[in-house]
Amino acid sequence: MSSDWLLRIVLFSVIHWALAGLMMTDLLARRRVLGGRKTPWLALVMLVPGFGSLAYLLFHPDILHPDHDADRPRAGRDRR
């Protein structure tokens, strides 16, 4: 495998895990998720690189609006 491809894979992995970390933090702090169960979302975010996090973001867009997040316990709604 060439170093170019290695760089691509490493970079993509870094982006994937950074996004997945943020999504998993939100997922664990959330009371309710779409579909009712957290495990499938956790598997999707972890096992589908890039697209899993994008899908989670698309179906839970209030992650970007903490002011209007009613599904989160009070302690988790602090400004970050």
Binding site: L7, R8, L11, F12, I15, A18, L19, L22, G50, S53, L54, L57, L58, P61, D62, I63, L64, H65, P66, D67, H68, R79, R80
Partner: protein, 142 residues
């Protein structure tokens, strides 16, 4: 309810529009829309990338630092296929990386500024409610 829904989906919609614009040249090639073929869509995409500042700054304004970081990472994820497979120009990855770093820093700064503004407004409100000094922070009269 409708307003809240619109506000929630504003950033994903912005990202979708920016992505469409960013890959419009490839879309034209794929769909064979020759009437829409312009040189602008096939040059260096540094200008096209600037459009992504809109969702990044908006997310920073609404979602603070976390929103800015998330949208910056998503934007970088959108840039990667062009850097890896499409762009014929030199140092595509470096240019995208630099833009992402600067946009991310800008977003984080906007988020911090918004946090600071809100903290000041909160303090002003509390001062207006408790005009006597010493009663705001600890609730003690000194």
């Amino acid at each position: 309810m409708k307003k809240r829904l619109t506000k929630c989906f504003a950033v994903p919609i912005m990202l979708a529009v920016c992505s469409l614009f960013y890959y419009f040249g490839e879309l034209i090639d794929w769909a064979a829309w020759d009437a829409l073929r312009r040189d602008f869509f096939y040059g260096i995409h540094d200008v096209h990338r600037l459009l992504f500042l809109v969702p990044i700054v908006y997310a920073a304004y609404c979602g603070r630092v976390r929103g800015a970081v998330i949208v910056t990472l998503v934007a970088f994820l959108i840039f990667l296929p062009r850097a890896f497979f499409v762009s014929p120009y030199p140092d595509a990855l470096l240019r995208m990386g630099l833009f992402t770093v600067f946009a991310g820093v800008l977003g984080v700064l906007v988020g911090q500024l918004r946090n600071e503004c809100e903290r000041r407004q909160d303090l002003e409100r509390r001062l207006a409610e408790h005009p006597h000094p010493g009663t705001v922070a600890g609730g003690r009269h000194e």
